[in-house]
């Protein structure tokens, strides 16, 4: 059964020490994480820097939007092919404006989906947490498959100066 514990700190330095201690104690990257109520500079806690593929989302969305917009603008004109002033049925410049807007719209929607997906949200089982984190406390959370390691993790957190340890 998966279980997790949360060590709470008031300052970033001991939280960073706890993260280092967990690495030294052989905990795998990805099994422990730091929770804060505000963004800290990347690497402030020596944490694992997450890789992401967010940049692919707007490109993917834009391609879908562009394709749909070609279909929509061309089809609406071809479905009612009224010649105006001897000009071609498909009015390219006017189409470009709608195509531009639809491409951008799909790009934005896909980016927002990407942000939510890459943030691993919605998170229906958030696990152990403390509301003081949004008051400036810093949480170091460790997830275990093997409960025999709980004591090791608690030792590391206590050694680093955790003010409190919570269990899921």
């Amino acid at each position: 059964m998966t279980t997790s514990i949360l060590g709470l700190f008031q300052q970033p330095e001991p939280a960073a020490d706890a993260m280092d201690g967990l690495k030294e104690a052989g905990f795998e990257l990805g099994t422990f994480d730091v929770l804060t109520g505000t963004p800290y500079p990347e690497g402030a806690f020596g944490e694992h820097v997450p890789q992401h593929r967010l940049f692919r989302f707007p490109a993917f969305g834009a391609i879908i939007g562009f394709t749909l917009s070609i279909f929509l603008t061309a089809a609406t004109q071809l479905a009612y092919p009224m010649v105006t002033g001897g000009k071609p049925i498909l009015s390219i410049f006017a189409m470009l404006i709608i195509m531009y807007e639809m491409t951008m719209l799909a790009g934005v929607i896909a980016t927002v989906i990407g942000i939510i997906f890459e943030s691993r949200l919605p998170n229906l089982k958030p696990g152990v947490y403390d509301t003081r984190i949004t008051e400036g406390w810093i949480g170091v959370v460790i997830t275990f498959d093997d409960e025999s390691k709980v004591a090791d993790a608690e030792n590391v957190l206590n050694k680093a100066g955790a003010l409190e340890i919570k269990h899921a």
Partner: protein
């Protein structure tokens, strides 16, 4: 310019969530009064739809009047959000932090309000569906995508959707904060809306990278929206004063001028009403006023360019229109008020730091700008149509009716009502941005001077 003020996170939560956790005493009566005004306005709109556009002052040849003027005005105000939020985020301007949420919110609510005007202006709003949506399968008649009147709703709905999503994504950390501070049904609501936000490095990284990415995507939309609104006029080659090639950039910069001024108005109100003196400080007004000086001067340049291009061609009808717009009663009075309020009074005042850091003066000058900017749109739209031209056999002077004025006033009550309603449930200043500023800023000694230094990126 950056002033250092050490504020702990508990204090920041308590102060910036005072609208959600403890309702201020003035909130309920103000919302009630605005609510009554909103209902009265909706009643007038319903009456107008029932009776028809005959209750307005619109008459041949002026069929675009107060409603379209107010539509352009609110679209203009909506440009505040992206100007402030996206550009300042991309350039990592530190003073953006207390401003962004209010600006994004103003974008969403003013766009929602702007959309009402073309709908009611059409007289029979339900028929707009035929005009905009490609769904008339039975008769095979679809929207004419060559018309700016189709491009316009497409651009505005893109902007509205994008801005709303942008607002929501940036709200996620604060929703997590509200979830942690509430109980009962409010806690349940914030828990659902926060989507399980915890504040781990991955989520913060997505906020930063995603914020920049969305800003970069929203900027071209922001430019396109008011450009397309301007084409509603600029492609009407039969109306002198409208068919100008500089309308797109002219409208965009005018929109930024009015939008940023509206943000100043809103910031002053937020500081006074919620007592956020520690967060919305004179330095923020100073920075906004400096930005406004540049924007306003660029806009004034376009105003004169429009006149110069019109007069340089020595086209008789165009000259006659300008003569009417600038020299003939009552347009000349409106033109003078427009120029005074839009530029000549506020901008010279903003040149002085004492004015830029005086919040009351900034509040009143920003209101002056928006009076001027509303008049600018009115002076572009109405005289162009009102000038007597050949081959038009009936003629009436346009006098906006009480119905039109009431709906104009309603739009202000509606936007304020929506803002206050939002403020009851969601923070108007992004808390995590404020706290980030505390984490990323420290004092360093240079010689004997203590200077606030800001960390941008860790190595």
């Amino acid at each position: 310019m950056q002033q250092r003020r050490e504020l702990d996170q508990v204090y920041t939560n308590r102060k910036l969530l005072n609208g959600q956790l403890d309702t201020p005493k003035w909130w309920a009566p103000t919302v009630a009064i605005l609510g009554i005004a909103v209902i009265l306005g909706l009643f007038v709109i319903a009456t107008m739809i029932n009776k028809g556009l005959g209750v307005t002052g619109l008459a041949r040849p002026v069929y675009w009047g107060l409603f379209i003027t107010t539509f352009v005005f609110w679209v203009g105000i909506s440009h505040a959000g992206i100007m402030i939020s996206a550009i300042l985020r991309l350039t990592q301007a530190e003073w953006r932090r207390p401003v962004t949420r209010a600006a994004e919110l103003l974008t969403v609510f003013s766009l929602l309000t702007a959309l009402v005007f073309p709908l009611i202006h059409a007289g029979r709003p339900w028929r707009i569906a035929y005009w905009i949506l490609p769904y008339d399968f039975a008769r095979g008649i679809y929207p004419n995508i060559r018309s700016p009147l189709i491009m316009d709703p497409v651009a505005i709905s893109t902007y509205l959707t994008g801005s709303t999503l942008f607002l929501y994504v940036a709200l996620l950390p604060d929703l997590g904060n509200l979830r942690d501070r509430t109980t009962g049904w409010k806690n349940a609501m914030y828990t659902v809306l926060a989507l399980g936000w915890r504040g781990n490095p991955r989520q913060w990284k997505m906020q930063t990278v995603g914020g920049i990415l969305l800003s970069a995507l929203m900027l071209p939309i922001f430019v396109s929206v008011h450009s397309i609104v301007s084409w509603d006029f600029a492609v009407a080659s039969a109306v002198e004063g409208w068919h100008s090639t500089i309308f797109a950039p002219y409208f965009v910069i005018g929109a930024v001028h009015s939008g940023v001024s509206a943000v100043v108005t809103m910031m002053a109100l937020m500081r006074w009403l919620w007592g956020w003196d520690d967060f919305i400080r004179p330095e923020h007004f100073d920075a906004l006023a400096r930005l406004l000086i540049v924007v306003a001067t660029g806009w004034l340049g376009f105003t004169f360019l429009e006149l110069i291009f019109a007069l340089y061609g020595q086209d008789a009808p165009e000259i006659a229109l300008r003569e009417m717009q600038i020299l003939t009663w009552p347009w000349n009075l409106l033109f003078i008020i427009f120029l005074l309020t839009g530029y000549l009074i506020p901008v010279p005042m903003w040149l002085f730091k004492r004015v830029r850091t005086n919040i009351a003066l900034m509040f009143w000058t920003s209101i002056l700008v928006n009076i001027g900017m509303w008049l600018e749109r009115f002076l572009i739209i109405v005289p162009g149509l009102a000038r007597r031209t050949p081959f038009v056999y009936t003629w009436e002077a346009y006098r906006p009716s009480a119905v039109e004025w009431t709906i104009l006033v309603w739009s202000f009550a509606w936007v304020t009502f929506l803002m206050l309603l939002f403020s009851r449930f969601f923070p108007l200043v992004p808390l995590f941005e404020q706290k980030e500023s505390q984490v990323f800023t420290d004092d360093v000694m240079i010689g004997r001077a203590k200077v606030p230094a800001i960390v941008r990126e860790a190595e």
